[in-house]
Amino acid sequence: MSVDHSSSMKRIIRLVRRQPKPLLYGLALLVPFLFVAAAPSIIAPYSPFAIMDVPFLSPSATHLLGTDEIGRDLMSRVIYAARADIFVSLSAASVAFVVGTVIGLFSGYVGGRIDTLTMRLVDVFLSFPTIILALFLIVIFGRAQWVQICAIALVMAPSMARFSRGTGLVLRKRGYVEASQISGASTAHIVRSHILPNSMPTLLVAASVLSASAILIASSLSYLGLGAQPPSPSWGNMLRSSFSYVYQAPWYGVGPGICVSAVASAYVLIGEGLRRKFARRRSMMGSTKSLASL
């Protein structure tokens, strides 16, 4: 209508074009999954629980991916599974991010004995290989969804803590931080108003890495039978079934497998894009070397 509209449209296009390519591809890949996870019923042709037909039908017009071992439509199940997997992985990643960042930033900023002690504790958790710790927690506390989320978060939080500590250490020496200290600001205030905002860019990159990690761990746990329980679908437990029936229905696992890889790739792409974007603004951070401690 008015000149303003077209120029704001052009501005948006220019903004989008300026982003690093991986970021765009990553978002393009991830957003459909987020949409499907939020509102699966819009896309799914049938209910994921409805027993429609004979088991192990090959892909056809009525069943785009065929039927599973009970006779349910596989396409619908793959779509509904997005909700479980993405919810669990994003929750776990968020918890790990928040907990890890808080611990790490404080530890890195405060320094001294507290820092050393905290990091020692973190190292103890890091001594357990990923899945093994998660399995241990699940065998003890059960298979409920919250246990899954907490187990994955607990497994990822220590490395996030280490990483953000590095950031905290670097920022501690910045001029504005020292100025704040001299003027008597409290530690909490400094961390909240100076350290946190300035470390956000790098932390966001780490967050995307964390999310990729989370979905891979979550689907692995699901594959081992410790995730969503039947009849609820999740990509991991569908892949588990697909192995049992690999002679009767070889196409079973293709859909779920692609989805897991796609979502993980999306997070990685976004992370790469963010990294490139913030690397251009290197002057703010000094160098991105601190990522190296992740």
């Binding site: 088991p55 090959s58 006779g71 009767q248 196409w251 990685v268 792409l269 190296a292 401690s293």
Partner: protein, 554 residues
């Protein structure tokens, strides 16, 4: 110190290197690559899909072929059998149930008696038995039998073996499966070298327990590490055991019933039917013993093999009747309209199941289907009946046992049926130990639960399977859950399995089960053995026991 983190096996950021120098190349090419790989996989899988057959062959009982070609990888002296169960230890008392004691146990050990396919008892290590006195059983022991280490079998060994399966002090250290409760057990004594006297407080059919008492040497517990070693009288001696993977046996030339024709008999354990199928196809094993109906189509087309029905497995669902709403028989009967039997059959048994749902006793004789009772899949009717009995919107959870895929598949179909009738339900899968604890142990389960087993011998044991624990014990009610059924149960237990008056009692039990809806539903499904075409003599008796010593290649 580890200071970098993996992403479930990958590291994204390097350590100590400038990030800018890392060209990851994540761009359009990677995106295209991902798409390309996916399409490639889909294509390949799609081609694979059209090749596989989806028809399942009905199990065929063929006579030994005259063709002398032998399955690749085997010689006429060797038989390698795969089974869809994983054995971790060889202890003859451990809770491995049917799989160990009936499928493999007779390879290394002997029981007191064997059962043939018509239900007659055949002497094994016990040549005569006197069960006329319900509290005292006299056994005569076979002479001239020797253990694998050369020592002769005497009554003391038999008495010890019986005690080891009944005496709770010995049981605790073996983590074994008792044959009777401690309150029933009194003693087992060797009266002379070849006679044993077993004294109990009431009639206990320990001779025909489905998990047979396997005979070990006197005082051997604690001296022999039974988890890893074998010391029995059986047709095969232990050659090698790898826990969780397989066991090899070598023929015992001094076996009392004649040395076996096949010198090397091995078992391979598989957690996963697809892996077992692969092993058969690649010639690593010659046969698979327990192919579930669902998995038959994956192995029925292997060349030079034949398929035999090795047994019928019974599946049934029992109900928590200790508390409302399921303590009302009308409510239980209403649930019958929630089962889409055809869908359950397809989902759990690839359509090969046999069902006469409401009367499990008819499972093995008549396939008359639910229509015979006039009950069809009608969730609306179920809803109506529930409302009539003031039981709308009740909660009926379904409890399954981990690893029993057929039960889990059936449960998911049943779930849909319940939902259609307005019943709140969910499927829970419990590990076997947990399930045992909640059902037979403490009686704390809710809703309905899955149970399965071989058709047991004698049939009074089948009644036991069907009604115990649901009629006897519940944590929600003091005393017997269903007094009439419990009373009948005790009466049946007190009657000898070969007594003529038992038949009338069993008929009564059958009627009670159907009229009061004590058992919700039953299915029977054939379990098949895929074996080399020229193999014969594998001894199935239809009750789940397998003997291997008469197997022979033609």
């Amino acid at each position: 110190m580890p200071s970098a983190r993996q992403i479930a096996g990958t590291t994204i950021e390097p350590r100590g290197l400038e990030m800018e120098k890392i060209q990851t190349g994540i761009d359009r090419r990677a995106f295209l690559g991902l798409t390309g790989l996916s399409f490639g996989a889909l294509l390949v899988a799609g081609c694979g899909g059209s090749d596989s057959t989806t028809t399942s062959e009905a199990p065929v009982d063929t006579a030994g072929a005259t063709d002398t070609t032998v399955q690749a990888g085997s010689t006429k002296d060797t038989l390698k059998v795969g089974m869809n169960a994983v054995i971790e230890g060889l202890t003859p008392f451990a809770i491995q149930g049917y799989v160990w004691s009936q499928m493999m146990g007779f390879m290394f050990y002997d029981p007191l008696i064997q059962k043939d396919s018509t239900g007659n008892l055949v002497p094994s290590l016990a040549t005569e038995w006197d069960t006329s006195d319900p509290k005292k059983t006299i056994l005569k022991i076979r002479q001239g039998v020797i253990f694998h280490d050369g020592t002769p079998l005497t009554a003391k060994d038999v008495a010890y073996s019986i005690a080891a399966r009944c005496d709770e002090k010995l049981m605790a250290s073996t983590a074994g499966r008792p044959v009777m409760t401690p309150s029933q057990w009194v003693s087992a004594t060797a009266i002379d070298d070849y006679t044993v006297e077993v004294i109990t407080t009431e009639r206990v059919e320990f001779l025909v327990n489905p998990q047979p008492i396997l005979i070990v040497p006197n005082e051997s517990f604690g001296k022999v590490n039974f988890a890893n070693e074998v010391l029995g009288t059986g047709p095969y001696k232990l050659s090698k055991f790898t826990s969780g993977t397989g066991v090899d046996g070598i023929a015992n030339a001094d076996y009392w019933d004649g040395a076996p024709a096949i010198t090397n008999l091995s078992f391979a354990f598989f957690k996963d039917p697809a892996t077992a199928a692969t092993s058969l196809r690649s010639g690593q094993i010659d046969a698979i013993y327990d192919v579930a109906p669902k998995n038959l189509s994956a192995v029925s087309d292997v060349p030079n093999t034949k398929v035999e029905t090795s047994g019928i497995y019974a599946y049934w669902w029992i109900i928590q009747m200790g508390k409302p709403p399921l303590d009302n028989p009308e409510v239980r009967k209403a649930l019958r309209y929630c089962f889409d039997l055809e869908a359950i059959n397809n989902a759990a048994f690839a359509g090969l199941g046999v069902t006469h749902s409401w009367n499990p006793f008819k499972l093995f004789s008549v396939n008359s289907g639910a229509e015979a009772d006039g009950i069809t899949y009608d969730p609306e009717k179920a809803k109506q009946l529930l409302a009539d009995n003031g039981a709308s919107n009740i909660k009926v959870p379904i409890l399954c046992i981990e690893g029993y895929q057929d039960g889990i598949a059936a449960a998911q179909v049943m779930l849909e049926g319940f939902k259609a009738a307005g019943i709140k339900s969910s499927v829970e899968i419990a590990p076997a130990s947990d399930w045992l604890d909640r059902t037979y142990g403490k009686g704390t389960w809710e809703g309905i639960t899955f149970n399965a087993g071989n058709l047991p011998f004698p049939s009074k044991n089948f009644f036991d399977y069907l009604v115990n624990p649901s009629t006897i014990k519940s944590s929600y009610k003091k005393g017997d859950v269903l007094p009439a059924a419990a009373e009948l149960y005790r009466q049946i237990n007190a009657t000898a399995f070969d007594a003529p008056e038992l038949q009338a009692l069993l008929a009564q039990a059958e009627k009670m089960i159907v009229d009061d809806a004590i058992v919700l539903m039953g299915f029977g499904a054939p379990v098949s053995m895929v074996e080399p075409e020229n193999l014969s003599g594998v001894g199935f008796n239809g009750f789940g026991d397998v003997t291997w010593n008469k197997s022979i290649y033609s």
